[in-house]
């Protein structure tokens, strides 16, 4: 096979990894950039004139109860938007259906909901990470004018607990609180201000206990949600040429979506309730809240309201049960919206991790064995820790072949804030560790870090440490008997993207410290580093993962109009656009109308695990195909055609509880980053000056949206590398604000170069691979590797803080 590191450089202009294998017609790349003045937007946005929804959600949405399965004409619930006349199928970047409303300030986010006679809900939370509840006195608060209800655990109508996987989280604290910020009581009042003041009047008698905050101690004491070992071969019987053993620490990251947790609940007057909420998976919400409210699920209608970013923070319940309880208790609409400080404790975070890794290689630079002990801090309640531990264990060595493995991954139970889903989901923590290890081992071996990775990269037919066969790459691309290795190919693509030169005459804002005017270049050193990430796409370990889509094709005023009905959450990623693109490609409809995403549609599963393009994309495609089939011999003038399809990915297996073996994942996606940094080694300030990224997406569905996913995912990885950490001390969060929890600003982000590879997955719709998460994995280790390159320090903890860089100043690490 030709050396992937020496691939010809002339290929850069194409997005495909396999030039020549597709005809030009099959290429759906956008037309070449026009010369002269660039026509911005109007072509696509012109058709939107008639569709722009204006103003807040109309009051009295109760009528939607009577709506048929496929309401025509399409109604608009919160978040629902029509998409008339937009050109562009799969592979193009049509104007987002929600873009016009978003730039006009008329898009209805969950926090913009407004109903006549609406009350405001508020949550009283525990100030203590661990305490017994002796008594709660709500009398004074109840008596306050303007207060409509004050509810505690005693008022929960049904089941007292909920949870995404395990129902262990109290709706409201019972006799004990287990983390700082645990909901204790809820209030509904005429204004938010009044509700907050009433909360201060609630008298809670706490018996304060010593919180258990050390995850290692928790594991030792048997306080854990899951332990998942992976055993393969016999690591102890090997005789390595080089061994590297290090301890790694990953801080607690927050998703920090800009839109706060919010929603509104409306009693229907007959004992039922309607909820509008910003959520990633509305059907899972319904399943969890119905038992708590003591209502049959069919008495509850839930619709997704406009979502201001999610990143995992909207997988667990937040306001849902509380506002529903308040609305049922008062008989009035109730809105809830967290402020930023409450948001920081009102959703789960990325698990902080402590990891000990031992990597060994033989003299030829082949990995011999990997041993790892991974302890993730799940905090007080289960949330999705179980699944995160599964990912951490199964992806613990990354995309490398190794025959001898001993891994133990734990999810500890402590009195720290609960942790669960965040973009990257168990893949991020271990990626930082194994990539750091790969660099360290390459250094010991005297090998170039890319060459060392290439020698160990998985290829078609390789086995992961779980025994899962890598089977989604084109066997026909084997060369001289060597199976195709997508990773080796991707690593080779950096050859023709040189590291940027240090510019002369830099503006001071381009130096570490930026406008702080801390240096004019003295003490600034440059470094370059690489990171590779391997992420599973869709739900793993035997989960029955599916999505449902309905399509109705109809003739309206001589035009074919396709109505699309799913419950998939548009969290910002562009999923609405993608659905419309698929419908245009499959049905060639004149117009595509997206109907509201609510529980009247079948479940679409969660907008997480990079799965929505695959799953709901797959369901929409399947429904379109069914409609096409029904169209044979049918004239639309005689009536509309309708089809609903449920789409499932191939089945997966649970991991063996002792050996971790099992084909647990559906699909795997790769991303490689190269970071270039400037470090002021005297002040410990880091400036990332370039991020270059090669990602395999299988099929480019929407170039602009894809780039946006890679840019945004890389930014969150940068945040974890150098700034983002929720600091806790004895279970208390110290920095619950954007003043103290820093996320990257436009000054922190470097320019990015992207090279997209399309190694189609034959199992997936259009061959696509989930794309949202992988960049979040690989940018972090790449940046830290670059800082190591600049400073010579070992740097085993993220985020890297200035003091990590200056503590060793003048000394060898």
């Amino acid at each position: 096979m030709p050396d992937a590191l020496n691939e010809p450089t002339g290929r850069a202009a194409t997005t495909a990894s396999t030039p020549g294998e597709r005809t030009p017609d099959e290429r759906t790349s956008p037309s070449p950039a026009p010369t002269g003045p660039v026509p911005v937007a109007p072509a696509a946005s012109a058709g939107l004139e008639t569709a722009v929804p204006a103003g807040p959600v109309p009051a009295a949405p109760a009528a939607s109860h009577a709506a048929p399965e496929f309401p025509t004409p399409p109604t608009r619930a919160a978040g629902g938007v029509g998409t008339p006349h937009l050109p562009g199928g799969v592979g193009s970047s049509p104007t987002r259906p929600d873009a016009e409303a978003k730039v006009n300030g008329t898009f209805d986010y969950a926090s913009d909901l407004d109903f006549p006679g609406m009350l405001w809900g508020h949550t009283l939370r525990s100030p203590h990470p661990s305490a017994r509840l002796r008594a709660i006195d709500t009398t004074t608060a109840r008596a306050m004018p303007g207060v409509a209800a004050v509810l505690t655990a005693a008022d929960v109508p049904g089941k007292l607990h909920y949870g995404l996987i395990e129902a262990d989280q109290p709706v409201l604290a019972l006799d004990q609180v287990n983390y700082e910020g645990e909901p204790v009581a809820i209030i509904a009042a005429e204004t938010l201000d009044l509700a907050r003041r009433a909360a201060e009047l609630i008298d809670v008698d706490y018996d304060i206990l010593e919180p258990a905050c050390d995850p290692e101690e928790a594991v030792a004491a048997g306080n854990w949600f899951r332990c998942q070992p992976v055993r393969l071969g016999d690591p102890d019987a090997q005789t390595p040429a080089a061994v590297v053993t290090r301890d790694y620490v990953v801080g607690m990251q927050d998703q920090a979506p800009l839109g706060p947790e919010s929603g509104a609940a409306l009693p229907t007057g007959d004992g039922g309730i309607e909820l509008y909420v910003a959520t990633q998976w509305v059907h899972s919400d319904l399943e969890q809240i119905a038992p708590c409210l003591g209502l049959e699920p069919d008495r509850i209608h839930m619709a997704i309201a406009g979502i201001g970013g999610a990143f995992g923070a909207r997988e667990d319940l937040s306001v849902q049960v509380h506002m529903a309880m308040l609305a049922l208790a008062t008989g009035r609409p109730v809105k809830m919206m967290y402020d930023r400080a409450e948001s920081f404790v009102g959703h789960v975070h990325r698990h902080p991790a402590r990891m000990r890794y031992e990597h060994a290689a033989d003299a030829d630079g082949k990995l011999l064995y990997v041993k790892a002990r991974i302890v993730l801090d799940g905090g007080a309640y289960a949330s999705t820790t179980e699944a995160v531990v599964g990912n951490a264990a199964s992806l613990a060595v990354g995309p490398y072949e190794v025959e001898h493995v001993s891994i133990d991954a734990w999810g500890a139970r402590t009195n720290n804030p609960p942790c669960g889903a965040m973009r990257g989901f168990g893949g991020v923590q271990t990626c930082f560790a194994y990539e750091s290890q790969m660099d360290a081992l390459a250094e010991v071996l005297g090998l170039d870090p890319l060459e060392f990775r290439r020698r160990n990269a998985v290829a078609q037919g390789s086995k992961l440490i779980t025994g899962q066969i890598v089977d989604a790459y084109d066997p026909a691309r084997a060369d001289g008997g060597t199976p195709f290795s997508p990773l080796a190919d991707m690593l080779g693509r950096f050859k023709d993207m040189p590291v940027p030169a240090v510019p002369t005459g830099r503006d001071i804002v381009e130096l570490p410290g930026g406008t702080g005017n801390t240096t004019h270049g003295e003490g600034v050193r440059r470094g370059v580093g690489y990171g590779v990430g391997l992420k599973n796409v869709c739900y793993s370990e035997g989960f029955d993962d599916y999505s449902t889509a309905g399509i109705r094709l109809e003739l309206v005023d001589g035009q074919t109009v396709a109505y699309v009905r799913t419950a998939a959450a548009e969290v910002g990623q562009g999923h609405w656009s993608l659905q419309a693109q698929i419908v245009r490609t499959e049905l060639g409809a004149d117009r595509v109308e997206l109907l509201p995403n609510d529980t009247k549609a079948g479940s679409a599963g969660s907008s997480s695990a990079s799965r929505q393009s695959y799953m709901t994309g797959g369901a929409v495609k399947a429904a379109c195909e069914a409609v096409r089939e029904l169209m044979r011999g049918h004239d639309l003038a005689d009536g509309p055609i309708e089809a609903t399809r449920v789409f499932r990915h191939r089945a997966t297996k649970p991991m063996d509880p002792v050996t971790g073996q099992g084909e647990s994942h559906v699909q795997l996606a790769l991303c490689v980053h190269r970071a270039t940094v400037d470090v002021d080694v005297e002040l410990g300030l880091v400036k990332v000056v370039d991020l270059t990224c090669v990602q395999d997406v299988g099929k480019i569905m929407n170039p602009v949206a894809l780039e946006g996913q890679i840019h945004g995912g890389s930014a969150q990885g940068l945040g974890l590398a150098v700034m983002e950490e929720m600091i806790t001390a004895q279970g208390r969060v110290k920095n619950a604000s954007f003043t103290d929890y820093l996320i990257p600003t436009i000054l922190d982000m470097p320019p990015m170069r992207l090279r997209i590879v399309e190694n189609a997955d034959p199992e997936a719709p259009y061959g696509l691979r989930g794309a949202g998460e992988p960049p979040t994995l690989s940018s972090t280790p790449a940046i830290v590797a670059a800082i190591r390159d600049a400073t010579g320090l070992a740097l085993t903890q993220i985020p890297v803080r200035p003091e990590h860089l200056t503590a060793h100043f003048g000394r060898q690490p």
């Binding site: 006009n104 300030g105 800009l258 170039p703 840019h711």
Partner: protein, 179 residues
């Protein structure tokens, strides 16, 4: 206390019962103008940026009581159409929660400087957090908007080799050779 001001060119009056009430709260919860977003109420995110007598401010940090007789412009009234078009065309809008504040900041920047370079754009937008986009396409959009507003003069070229042409975008770096 009654405060009268102009919001997006229309007279608007609000009854304030707390002297410290922020302009953001008044706009959203009293006047029902939800275009301006609330993401922190601490002056840290820029989602609530509006023009107050032409100057960009965080509405969450301005007391409504100080706005008597003044002119407030939000995303609805402060942003020229080409800026909006550029944001749409360049993919600068994902979840869009940062967008109203960003658009106001960009409108202000372009009113001061019709042809800002990347450094100037980054400085001007440093107070507007976006969690979704990584800011690349926002910078693209500002350049595109500047071009659209400059009566057809060719756009300033990005100082670095960003991959993304303005419209249509391509998910490759075909254009990277043109610095």
């Amino acid at each position: 206390m009654r405060v009268e001001m102009r919001v997006d060119g229309e007279p608007a009056a609000a009854e304030i019962d707390r002297p410290g009430e922020s302009l953001l709260t008044t706009l959203r919860d009293r006047l029902g103008r939800y275009g301006t977003k609330n993401a922190c109420e601490q002056g840290e995110c820029g989602s609530c940026t509006v023009l107050l007598d032409g100057d960009p401010v965080c509405a969450c940090l301005v007391a409504t009581a100080q706005c008597e007789g003044r002119e407030v412009k939000t995303v609805v009234g402060a942003v020229p159409r080409p800026v909006r078009d550029a944001f749409i065309a360049c993919g600068a809008v994902q979840c869009g929660f940062c967008t109203p504040g960003l658009l106001v900041s960009v409108a202000d920047l372009l009113a001061r400087d019709g042809d800002p370079n990347d450094v100037q754009i980054r400085e001007a937008l440093a107070g507007n957090l976006c969690r979704c986009t990584g800011y690349e396409k926002i910078i693209d959009a500002v350049h595109a908007a500047a071009e659209l507003m400059s009566d057809g003069t060719p756009a300033p070229t990005r100082a670095h080799w960003i991959t993304t042409p303005v419209v249509p975008s391509a998910a490759n770096d075909a254009t990277e050779a043109a610095p």
